[in-house]
């Protein structure tokens, strides 16, 4: 049984993280009721490290129903926060707490029988999650170079209320490009859209269609926390993403997909490791429908732009690779049929025309008969990154708010220009691949054998 260590940094990271633990508890409790042996649960919770430079969120967790579950040894807090300043998070707190962080990570790693991967959860726009979070990432690379690092990064929307979020995001992006094995970017705006769509469905439902309330995707109800707070619905979705990625390591299936297989299959070149996640279904209708059609609809939805967790349209960009993690009573023939059906409309790069990685896990999430998580390494991230670069440049050109950063000990202006060129280089790599999209690339000439 492999374990992962979840490191949640900053306000957003900790809120999403706690949603994840909540839902995971619920999922395992549900499965346990059916008598399936579950050895994961007992050691599950020791594999968490919670970091925040303000006390509010983490202390809230300690007062709340999850207090039994976490040990104070796993927590790291300070009082004054990072002031939405990446440099404060990364350099000031990063240096001050370096040893403490490394110790806590080691402790969590030692608890694991077999450590497979580190999950890092943080937002990009703020100061702690973004700055200290990326510092933790580089510490993970230093101390545990052989363990996979998967980062779930929450990207700010254009209308983000933190003015300096473009700076924080771009500075953090550089770290992610250099030190992460995989990054799952999530955009706040997409989560908002999805949540709105779900509540529209439930208010506006046709007669006879009732949304099932107990599904883990739509509601944290039935979990440990009794009430739902504002960002909860959005955080639920991200928490489900993590649940689905780890499902094959936790439950049986006829075609297992472990975490170490994800990086190996989806990252063809070291820097191009941004994987767009999409989750279906987002809600379950309680009415009876012909099972196969609903199943096929689930596959189609996974590629529609409404189900992507960043604002992007992968169908109209170029796929480098795609992974499908299916949960529930789905067989290989259903998988094959849908891949064959959808394949013609999805543009794949010339050297990976059949680039599918598939996994079948027999246990579905609570409240659903089956579910699908798609991870796409697709050039549709390029517009998102370009927008981010534009927002950054708008501020940087006028040197707005720069002094807040440069005042921090250890922060140089070169950090900004380097981060910008790292992002530009990344965009260029995606651009290069995009250019091959329309072209018909002939097969590479084969080796000829003298006879």
């Amino acid at each position: 049984m492999t374990q992962s260590v979840v490191v949640q940094v900053g306000q957003c990271g900790n809120q999403v993280g706690c949603r994840f633990w909540d839902l995971a508890l619920r999922e395992h409790a549900h499965v346990n009721k059916r008598g399936l042996y579950d050895e994961a649960l007992s050691s599950f919770f020791r594999n968490a490290v919670l970091i925040d430079m303000e006390e509010g969120v983490v202390h809230g967790i300690l007062q709340g129903p999850l207090r039994e579950v976490f040990d104070s040894a796993q927590l790291l807090t300070d009082v004054s926060g990072s002031g939405n300043n990446w440099a404060v998070g990364n350099l000031t707190y990063g240096s001050a707490y370096r040893d403490s962080i490394v110790n806590k990570l080691r402790k969590a790693a030692e608890h694991c029988d077999c450590l497979q991967c580190f999950f890092l959860i943080h937002s990009m726009g703020g100061g702690t999650g973004s700055g200290l979070g990326t510092r933790v990432l580089s510490l993970l690379e230093e101390e545990f170079p052989d363990v996979c690092r998967i980062v779930t990064a929450m990207y700010p929307s254009a209308e983000d209320d933190v003015i300096t979020s473009p700076y924080n995001s771009v500075l953090a992006m550089r770290e992610l490009t250099e030190h992460a094995d995989c990054v799952l970017p999530v955009e706040n705006q997409s989560l908002v859209d999805i949540v709105n769509k779900i509540s529209l469905m439930s208010h506006d439902a046709k007669p006879g269609c009732v949304l099932k309330k107990e599904s883990t995707v739509t509601s944290g109800q039935g979990g440990v926390s009794p009430t739902e707070r504002p960002f909860d619905a959005m955080n639920n979705i991200v928490a489900n993403l993590l649940l689905n990625i780890t499902s094959s390591s936790r439950f049986d299936g006829s075609l297992n997909m472990d975490l170490n297989e994800i990086a190996n299959n989806l990252v063809p070149f070291p820097r191009l490791h941004y994987l767009v996640p999409s989750l279906t279904p987002l809600y379950t209708l309680a009415d009876v429908n012909i099972p196969t059609r609903r199943l096929d609809q689930m596959f189609s939805d996974a590629f529609s732009k409404e189900h992507q967790l960043i604002r992007a349209d992968p169908k109209h960009s170029l796929y480098l690779a795609c992974a499908l993690m299916v949960r529930g009573n789905v067989q290989v023939s259903d998988l094959r049929r849908n891949i064959e059906r959808l394949r013609p409309s999805l543009p794949f790069v010339s050297w990976n025309q059949e680039g599918w990685k598939t996994g079948l896990c027999s246990v579905p999430p609570v409240g659903h008969a089956h579910s699908l998580l798609a991870l796409a390494n697709n050039t549709c991230v390029k517009p998102t990154f370009m927008e981010l670069r534009d927002r950054f440049t708008k501020l940087y050109k006028k040197k707005a708010h720069l002094h807040h950063y440069l005042h921090v000990d250890g922060m140089e202006q070169s950090a900004f220009s380097e981060a910008l060129s790292s992002l530009s280089a990344l965009i260029e790599e995606y651009h290069h691949l995009d250019a091959t999209k329309a072209r018909l690339i002939p097969d590479a000439p084969r080796l000829s054998i003298a006879r």
Binding site: S254, N265, D334, R336, W351, W356, R446, L447
Partner: protein
């Protein structure tokens, strides 16, 4: 003579469990004492309590599949795996051949060799080894190749017949073509012969012949097990002088693996139909053999959509037959195994036609015929054809072409290099396989 099976990775362990299940039911349901005794001795051993224990070693880099296979076997009530005959780790190979071959295989070599040694010691006489694995993943392919090498080193005079499952062409694992190329190139040097099943073909058998609506991997594995069982269960061979052969693997090798450059064997079985239809069907040897022969020469590995237009080219046609020209499948050697009623009166002349073979071997040497009067797995009459022919040429070529395209852009190469193989190793593997493709293409 006993066979030791080594089940490697998820596929190997799942297929292996179905295989032992088929062979055990076949041996037990049949009311022929000698047949049952030979079959049980070959694949199982009787424990002191009278239970049947499979002569198998189960290897995987993570525990879930082995646990599942072992409990499934125990649940059958008729046979089981040895309590201590398995080896697993906590974390898989990440679908990375280099991880399996360069890191995990060597690391666990001693433990695995020990398990194999114990199984070998339980055999009065060792007929050979059958490693069962897939080529798409990391453990079956990488660790499997390494273990095959170990078997070669430790038991240099024993036969090694590798059974491989080739993945769906449309992808199960993105780097499957790399893993396949590396595995095949290495196994070609290590193995005596390589018996291949392709998921695409078996899937078609399940949907078109067995009429299964929602096909699961268990269905696929059961078809593979049925076909393999048809090859491995006891038969009377020309060399065995009226008794069931004691050297199944050796005789298979001498029948089919006549040249070191030609080791790829394909299997097809006839009839293959939904079990509910079997009772309503009548079978005749002439019809079965006629279909089987056409399946062979038109390269259709299942009975359905056979192209009856394909026929052997006239003897006078000169020039070499390239891959694309014509769909005629030339054989180097064939092994025809007939099981069931009236087996001694079956007329197999169609398979001795020199036009279907290359000119190197006289047809009576190119064809080997094994028979068993015992019906196999519910079919009153059944025939299995193991063929060393151009049947696998197209899928092999496709696999190499896709891998080469990927290699040309160096995609994913960094994932392999970090575990210890180099671009040179890749190139060597490509070269070996181009050689194999060239050899098979030029059979005429």
């Amino acid at each position: 003579m006993s066979v030791v099976t080594v089940q490697l990775g998820q596929c190997g362990n799942q297929v292996g469990q179905e295989l032992f299940d088929v062979m055990c039911s076949d041996a037990r349901d049949v009311h022929r004492k000698t047949y049952s005794a030979v079959s049980c001795e070959r694949f199982f051993r009787q424990t002191t309590q009278g239970a049947l224990e499979a002569r198998a070693v189960l290897i995987d880099m993570e525990p879930k599949v082995i646990n599942h296979s072992m409990s499934k076997a125990a649940k059958s009530g008729r046979w089981r795996y040895g309590e201590t005959s398995h080896f697993s780790q906590k974390q898989g190979s990440g679908n990375n051949w280099a991880n399996g071959y360069c890191v995990l295989g060597p690391r666990h070599r001693d433990a695995v060799e020990e398990l194999v040694r114990r199984q070998v010691e339980h055999c009065d006489m060792l007929a050979g080894f059958i490693p069962i694995m897939s080529v798409a993943g990391g453990t079956g392919s990488g660790v499997g190749t390494f273990i095959t090498q170990c078997l070669r080193d430790v038991y240099p005079s024993s036969f090694v017949l590798n059974h491989l499952t080739w993945p769906y062409g449309t992808g199960e694992v993105i780097v499957q073509n790399y893993n396949s190329v590396l595995t095949l190139a290495h196994l070609y040097q290590l193995s005596d012969a390589i018996l291949v099943h392709e998921n695409d073909i078996v899937h078609k058998i399940c949907s078109q012949l067995l009429k299964i609506k929602q096909i699961s991997f268990s269905d696929i594995n059961r078809v593979i097990a049925h076909q393999l069982g048809g090859v491995l269960q006891p038969t009377l061979t020309p060399a065995s002088c009226g008794a069931y052969s004691r050297h199944p693997i050796g005789e298979l090798m001498s029948a089919l693996a006549c040249h070191p450059e030609y080791k790829l064997l394909s299997v097809c079985t006839i009839p293959q139909m939904a079990s509910s239809s079997i009772a309503f069907s009548t079978f005749s040897w002439p019809a079965l053999l006629k279909h089987l022969r056409q399946m062979l020469i038109s390269n259709s590995k299942m009975e359905g959509g056979i192209d009856w237009q394909v026929c052997p080219p006239p003897a006078s046609a000169g020039g070499s037959r390239s891959l694309s020209a014509g769909s005629f499948n030339t054989s180097l050697a064939n092994l025809l195994i007939l099981r069931g009623k009236d087996v001694y009166s079956a007329e197999t002349g169609g398979f001795e036609d020199p036009a279907i073979y290359t000119s190197w071997l006289p047809p009576d040497e190119a064809l080997s015929l094994w028979k068993s009067p015992v019906p196999f797995n519910k079919y009153e009459k059944s025939a299995t054809l193991v063929s060393n022919s151009q049947a696998l040429l197209r899928p092999l070529d496709d696999m190499v072409r896709k891998a080469w395209n990927m290699f040309a852009s160096r995609a994913y190469i960094h994932q392999y290099i970090k575990f210890g193989i180099s671009e040179e190793d890749f190139l060597d593997s490509f070269t070996s396989l181009e050689q194999v493709i060239s050899s098979y293409s030029e059979l005429q």
